[in-house]
Symmetry: C2
Subunit: 156 residues, 2 copies
DNA sequence: GACATGGGTGTTACTTTATAACACCCAGTC
DNA sequence: GACTGGGTGTTATAAAGTAACACCCATGTC
């Protein structure tokens, strides 16, 4: 994800889509959950639960407990609004909530951005590899570490 | 991994290959590191660092500190003798040390076994997807949750 | 309007996973 | 024998995640 983009638009867009999706499903996107979603979306970098907790405490003035954040994150993950990046113990906003997710990420070691992709080739290759071994896929996780385009181009 | 196989052979084989590889590379597979490797290989299920720590304490009688185990694991991972399963915060013996690793795992939700695969199709698909986005791959992580063949066949 | 219900939140305490800082030991080398 | 560097031990601490239980509040029902 380029550093040069109107990120306020990303946030607003994510919240709007979340509102619509939850309304459609009858899921309760409460004030707290919405706020946590907003904080997750504060960048395209995966954020840890405790970082979000700190934001909540500092920006909103209320000292929340870890569980508060974890419960909100659990809801958001269930609704497909947020993904958990296993290799970072962190959470990032979903780029395409509502669509089918396979959860593939390109995580840049330099800038920390996690770009979500949904590459049909990767999904198909995993399905084929699993099928060949009689394995029934439930939840594939693909997290590729490396360097994003803009970080490669930057002089270090 | 079928529950029915001669696992003592797996362990012995893993240790033999580790000895050979480390000798070849001039890496020091000390008694402690070798013991930790053996404990990682005690099954095909990924084991947490603290589980290994407990084994060390209970089976060997010496109360080791967490760092002792983490340092040994770090070495073993660097040498490619052990893989870390990110989504489980756990470690599992590498099925093919010495060969190129892409780190792909089929993790069974029922029995907990993590079968390492090195599917060229999956690797190629990831490379292609990354290349198409200008992303330079350093370390791909693929961890597929699901049900292994033998657990599907078992009546639950 | 009173009441029951259930999901969401708050609070406290705790567990699990991982690392930092520093001292010591031992093998190999000059 | 002294030097050197990697490996290990020790203590303390940080980071990530969960359990148990009480309370609150919106909703539906009578």
């Amino acid at each position: 994800m380029s550093a040069l983009h109107d990120h306020t638009h990303c946030i607003a867009d994510a919240l709007t889509r979340a509102d619509a999706l939850c309304a459609e499903r009858g899921a309760r996107l409460t004030a707290l959950r919405r706020r946590v979603l907003e904080l997750v979306w504060s960048s395209h970098r995966p954020r840890g639960a405790y970082a979000i907790l700190e934001d909540l405490s500092q920006q909103d003035g209320k000292a929340a407990a870890p569980l508060t954040v974890y419960r909100a994150l659990e809801f958001l993950v269930e609704q497909g609004l947020v993904h958990r990046i296993e290799s970072l113990n962190a959470y990032v906003g979903c780029a395409a909530p509502g669509d089918v997710h396979s959860g593939q990420f390109l995580v840049c070691e330099a800038c920390g951005d996690a770009a979500e992709i949904d590459d049909p080739g990767v999904g198909a290759a995993i399905d084929a590899a699993a099928a060949g071994r009689g394995f029934r896929v439930q939840r594939p996780t693909v997290e590729v570490r490396g360097l994003c385009k803009s970080c490669q181009e930057k002089p270090r």
